[in-house]
Symmetry: C2
Subunit: 197 residues, 2 copies
Amino acid sequence: MSSTVPVAYGPGAGPGPYTPAQTRIIEAALDLFAEHGVGGTSLQMIADAIGVTKAAVYHQFKTKEEIVVAAAGAELARVETAIEAAEAEPTPARARDLLVTRIVDLAVERRRMESTLLGDPVIVRFFAHHEPFRQVMGRLYRILMGDARGSDARVPAAMLTAAIGGAVMHPLVADLDDETLRSQLLHLARRFLDLPD
Amino acid sequence: MSSTVPVAYGPGAGPGPYTPAQTRIIEAALDLFAEHGVGGTSLQMIADAIGVTKAAVYHQFKTKEEIVVAAAGAELARVETAIEAAEAEPTPARARDLLVTRIVDLAVERRRMESTLLGDPVIVRFFAHHEPFRQVMGRLYRILMGDARGSDARVPAAMLTAAIGGAVMHPLVADLDDETLRSQLLHLARRFLDLPD
DNA sequence: GTCTATACGCGGATAGAC
DNA sequence: GTCTATCCGCGTATAGAC
């Protein structure tokens, strides 16, 4: 896993960088969430993983939900980086192309991490009402759909993001190496969007 | 919700039909799982929903996991029905076509039910090692992929099932009526598989 | 066959000492 | 920043009433 914990929602928008103690908790939580799911991970497991007591963890984050938000936010920050790169492209077509490439890279690179987290119903339900998350996702969908807003654009955008996120943790592809999975996913995603190979 | 609780894994393969008390529990559990997730649903909530005590529920199913399996199995049985209809088709191409249509119908009809359940990490992890489930999924993938077994076939199959299941519970399409969502999903799924409209 | 009563252990959470 | 101690709710489990 990466040794850095990205802060979500762009520079200055979040609560600032985490303390070393908080960073240790987030990294341990990410590993455990990816392996056992959010609901299957107890604070005791997190505490044991870094060698402290449960109450010490609670001192850093007031609730388990805060840990979940920090962990998911760290993954979301990676998505936001991809979005910012895409938004810097000169044309909408090139922005879409770069975004799809980056999202596929991210999904494959962090396989069970990114998708287990963002697919977890606990996280899905929380972020559905979380404004900063909604804004990041709004930027992502805007790049994917262009200015179209009807069902003709929203259904394919929903399918594509679900397809990429869901495919990487699918049992059918569990034994594929990263590079094979990456190139196949990218090819199919481009085809789905009618982008040139 | 339907008033019947399908029994999973085909006639004679399961533990047989459920008692009325068990059926009430399964139906209540399906509703609650869809709304709060598996991890967010307690036996107390299920008991309250049908007006009995926690211990009464526990008497019908020895563990919460058994309730989860029964509830997920009821949804899985609907998928199996679609698979059986597809397998009865005369050609592989027509089987694929019918299966995609039925799966889209099912996903839309039961929206937050089917997908919340089958997307829940608790269920995913359990069924990953559950042989009857794996066999049903194996039949589904075989119809989708034909006899191909390489990554060229497995990645698109993984993407398509993830896309359909994930799209119906996606926030982007939450406000679409069922018929619009159904026709869009079916059109795009067919296009993804290079099937004629 | 269905239910009530009761108890145990674990996970989430808080208060206050070092 | 970490600890001990404690509380509450939930999942698990057993005994026994109707």
